[in-house]
């Protein structure tokens, strides 16, 4: 469905032209974008230090998500976050600030927490991506997830999956985390409801092994 979103070729061209036009204006203003010559072949590109030519149209890419290889067709400008949500229906990863300021879209890239709104989907190729869906499910909670429920570390719940992702990565690398450590683990995760104290309590209960939530 997504592949033919631009419809017949002629209208597709309009869309591309408009995109290039827009991109060109930005490039002129900022000097950031180098447009590769249209006719360049792979060798010529390599000589210029360009390893791959992509876009601006959609293209098929492979992403390894939660242990499974998924193929999607996306434009280069599509963020990993949008790819997860709009193309793969993995909506546990939340879109909130869309510029790396709130942590709600945190996923693991090769085990490390990253904000998926700040990564293009195509840059996530070749990495192991883990989303909240891959970490736990309502029926198969992790000790940390269960502790979040037990300690009421979610109010509206919109920041919660991101909080869990950040905290899970931190506890994996530091299983003996103390209060200051768990605060820092979620320092980039914003919660408007103010659940932080309960998030800290949940994490510390897992560190202490005192979580009762699994039973």
């Amino acid at each position: 469905m997504k592949n033919d979103k631009h419809g017949p070729p002629d209208s597709r061209a309009i869309s591309r032209r408009s995109f290039i036009k827009g991109a060109g204006a930005i490039a002129a203003a900022t000097g950031l974008i180098r447009t590769p010559p249209a006719s360049a072949d792979a060798t010529a590109l390599a000589q210029e230090g360009i390893v791959e030519r992509i876009g601006p149209g959609a293209q098929e890419i492979e992403l390894k998500i939660n242990g499974e290889v998924k193929r999607i067709t996306v434009e280069p400008r599509v963020t990993l976050l949008r790819a997860l949500r709009d193309h793969l229906n993995l909506t546990g990863t939340k879109l909130v600030c869309d510029r790396g300021a709130c942590g709600a879209c945190t996923v693991h890239l090769d085990g490390k927490p990253v904000t998926s709104c700040m990564i293009l989907a195509l840059d996530a190729r070749g990495h192991e991506i883990t989303t909240i869906e891959g970490l736990l499910t309502p029926d198969r909670m992790s000790p940390l997830g269960a502790a979040f429920v037990e300690h009421d570390a979610a109010q509206c719940g919109f920041c919660t999956p991101g909080m869990v992702m950040s905290m899970a990565a931190a506890l994996a690398s530091n299983p003996k985390a103390q209060l200051e450590d768990v605060k820092r683990a979620v320092a980039g995760n914003i919660c408007r409801c103010g659940t932080y104290p309960h998030v800290f309590a949940a994490a510390l209960s897992v560190v202490r092994g005192g979580n009762r939530g699994e039973s």
Binding site: K5, G7, K94, V96, R99, T137, C193, G194, P197
Partner: protein
């Protein structure tokens, strides 16, 4: 038909019997000392696992076959005539399926909706916005309160004044009150525009099936959205269905169908396909509401003995293009004064409309009043807590002052000498109040199924307070069954009516309806059980999932067995939230104590500790109750120290419509928070519940302001208390 019931009303240690009249069908209200099995126990929310696992479906997560993505074009101009909107180039993209323009011919703030498109994916929708041509004729504008109040200011609404007629309240004669005062304090206090920053932005998914409209909306009021859409599209209400299973925050900004919801429905109609429109974060900051800013001129007078003789407020609130920016609430209710006058004027500016936000008007009023109280206390050389006790208006708060002061160590901390180093500690206390009685009207249905499961259906929504959980707990308690037996379904206008989730009204408005419905269902169930157990229905009781004969517990049957005997499909009963009957007090009190540390070299304020003491009626779930208080406090920390919409006065645009430039409280800013509840038997409804989402937010920023004053010896009369303001205040005061 009605009956009389005697209730013990008041608060702990101060209960008095009061005979109240309750309507027939209303269960006898729960009272202090009631022995509960489910209610009152800390209970993890029943939908907690769904939220933690990211499996709870929010509006933003809805996806339907063939669904299009919408995007909104907003005015870059703060005030302009829209001469021409040309959608034709946008429409020419084949991936664009609908394009509309707004009806307004004038835009009055930067961020106002001008046009919108729907396309097969979000990226194309953004492309299409870039192809819409709009011709604006710029008009003169005012982007801040001061400019808007000048006599020669350009009017926001043609032919009108920006400063609206004041609302005046009070009693006595303030002139006389100030003449009688031994000390008078007068100063101007400034509070900023705060935006709600709900993590889930405003938005909706709209789907037409013939002339029937279904809308998933991120809303605090599914029924108000339904009603607004029915009016807008001229449809009978029963042709509009609104669904909100989960809601990523609202804080007062999400009542009714706002432009993005109407836009989604219009685009969906034009495209003949479902359309999702979610605001961008920028659009969210600009156009979906805010807590209005205020200029508050405060004058207080008191005698040597510490008794207030006069309170006066002259306030101007920045409503943006809307009204409702008053802040007199705290002045009118926190402290006794024989002479009191408040004057509030809403002022229009060319900025986004203000809207209710957690305790609308109160945090700003509380900050001004309480800091002024401290400044006057200093003139009178009287302890600030003592000054408040002397003038306190609410007996519950008197007890709360005692509890809080002891827990906080007010006396010891007040006596402690200030540190000689650059880090100065300070303490502050402020009073809170709110009105959280709940509203009549909500309805609920409770169904017992033959398989032994119980369903609670109610058209309310969970703003994050744990509505599903508290409703299920109340149903479990009344039916005498385990909580795990209950499925609670909310968030759909096809369920029985409920009121919007706001004003701390949800729990006191919804739980009594569920309890009444469950009581009616229990009557039916006991009638079914009576012949089986060889007893009269009135001799039976249900506890912990077992129906038994009260005087002969050996004659019993499990609830599940009884359900198997239900003839037909199921047994169902309805309940309604009846109007409040007589109760103890119409208001609720509360107070908060705060300790801060100020770096006097860098101007940075850290909140170290907050002791929050609040009234509570019957607490259904102490665990989620504490979450709400934490949330109120932390939002107050942000309001005190970080949050402010910054406008460029020359361009009339907001310069920080993001979540990196608009600063919220983060994990590292969290103080130690201690919560204490004072039980208040308030009456009014059958569960004895009071809400407290708002009360917990009212006093925090004020108490922080007072603590900063204590720490550095000079008041910072503008929120947020940023480092530059701290340093400037110290320099001016030195």
């Amino acid at each position: 038909m009605s009956r009389r019931v005697t209730l013990n009303l008041g608060f702990q240690g101060n209960l008095k019997p009061v005979t109240v009249v309750i309507p027939d069908g209303e269960p006898t209200p729960w009272q202090f000392g009631e022995r509960f099995e489910t209610v009152g126990r800390p209970t993890p929310r029943i939908d907690g696992a769904l939220k933690v696992a990211g499996a709870a479906r929010y509006t933003y997560d809805i996806s339907m076959p063939g669904m299009l993505y919408g995007a909104i074009l907003r005015s870059p101009m703060p005030h302009a005539r829209v001469k021409r909107v040309d959608l034709s180039r946008a429409r020419r993209l084949s991936a664009v399926r609908a394009a509309i323009r707004m009806d307004d011919t004038v835009v009055r703030f930067a961020g106002q909706e001008v046009a919108a498109v729907a396309a097969v994916d979000y990226e194309t929708a953004l492309d299409a916005l870039g192809l819409i041509e709009v011709e604006y004729e710029p008009l003169p504008f005012v982007a801040d309160l001061d400019s808007a109040m000048r006599p020669d200011a350009p009017p926001v609404f043609e032919g009108g004044s920006n400063v609206q007629r004041p609302t005046v309240n009070g009693h006595g004669d303030v002139k006389r009150g100030f003449a009688e005062a031994s000390a008078v304090h007068e100063a101007v206090y400034l509070t900023p525009v705060q935006t709600h920053v709900s993590l889930e932005v405003h938005g909706s998914v709209a789907h037409w099936d013939g002339d029937e409209l279904t809308v998933w909306s991120s809303t605090q009021g599914i029924f108000t959205v339904r009603d607004d859409l029915a009016v807008y599209f001229n449809l009978p209400r029963n042709k509009v269905r609104v669904i909100c299973e989960y809601l990523g925050g609202g804080f007062g900004s999400k009542f009714g169908a706002k432009p993005e919801t109407v836009i989604a429905a219009r685009l969906a109609r034009e495209a003949n396909a479902p359309v999702k429109v979610m605001c961008t974060r920028e659009g969210e900051h600009l156009a979906t509401g805010n807590r209005p800013d205020a200029i508050q001129k405060v004058r207080l007078g008191a005698r040597h003995d510490g008794k207030l003789t006069a309170i006066e407020l002259v306030q101007h609130g920045g409503g943006g293009i809307s009204g409702g920016s008053g802040s007199a609430g705290p002045f009118l209710s926190l402290y006794h004064s024989p002479n009191l006058r408040t004057e509030e004027s809403n002022v229009f500016t060319n900025t986004g409309p203000c809207s209710p936000m957690r305790a609308p008007g109160w945090p700003q009023g509380c900050f001004a009043l309480e800091l002024a109280m401290d400044e006057l206390a200093r003139k009178l050389s009287i302890d600030r807590l003592e000054f408040r006790r002397l003038n306190n208006s609410n007996p519950v708060r008197a007890l709360e002052f005692d509890i809080g002061a002891k827990l906080f160590g007010w006396k010891e901390k007040s006596a402690a000498p200030k540190s000689p180093g650059p880090l100065k500690r300070g303490i502050g206390v402020a009073s809170a109040a709110w009105h959280a009685l709940g509203a009549s009207g909500p309805q609920a249905r409770v169904i017992a199924h033959r398989d032994g499961r119980v369903e609670v259906l109610m058209g309310t929504q969970d703003i994050g307070t744990g509505t599903r959980t508290v409703l299920a707990m109340v149903a479990a308690e009344e039916l005498g069954v385990e909580l795990s037996r209950i499925d609670c379904r909310i968030g759909d206008t096809r369920y029985p009516f409920s009121v919007p989730s706001g004003g701390s009204m949800t729990t006191p408005s919804t739980t009594p309806a569920v309890r009444q419905a469950a009581a009616h269902l229990k009557e039916k169930l006991l009638r079914l059980a009576a012949p089986v157990l060889g007893a009269e229905p009135s001799d039976l009781e249900a506890r912990a999932g077992v129906i038994r004969v009260r005087f002969d517990p050996s004659r019993s049957m499990p609830f599940a067995d009884l359900c198997r005997r239900i003839p037909g499909d199921s047994l169902s009963a309805e309940g309604e939230r009846v109007p409040n009957y007589e109760g103890y007090r119409n208001d609720q009190a509360g107070c908060q104590f705060v300790e801060v540390e100020v770096d006097t070299e860098l101007g940075i304020v850290r909140v170290l500790r907050v002791v929050a003491v609040h009234d509570a009626g019957q607490i259904i779930d102490p665990l989620t109750a504490r979450s709400q208080v934490n949330g109120g406090v932390l939002m107050g920390v942000g309001y005190a120290l970080f949050e402010a919409r910054r406008m460029d006065p020359r361009l009339g645009v907001m310069v920080n419509p993001t979540m990196d430039d608009y600063k919220l409280v983060g994990p590292l800013d969290v103080p130690e928070i201690e919560v204490r509840f004072v039980e208040v038997a308030n009456g009014f409804n059958n569960t004895g519940v009071m809400g407290f989402g708002e009360a917990a937010h009212v006093a925090t920023a004020a108490a922080i302001g007072c603590a900063v004053y204590d720490a550095i010896g000079v008041p910072v009369r503008s929120l947020p208390i940023t480092p530059d303001r701290v340093l400037a205040a110290m320099e001016a005061g030195a």
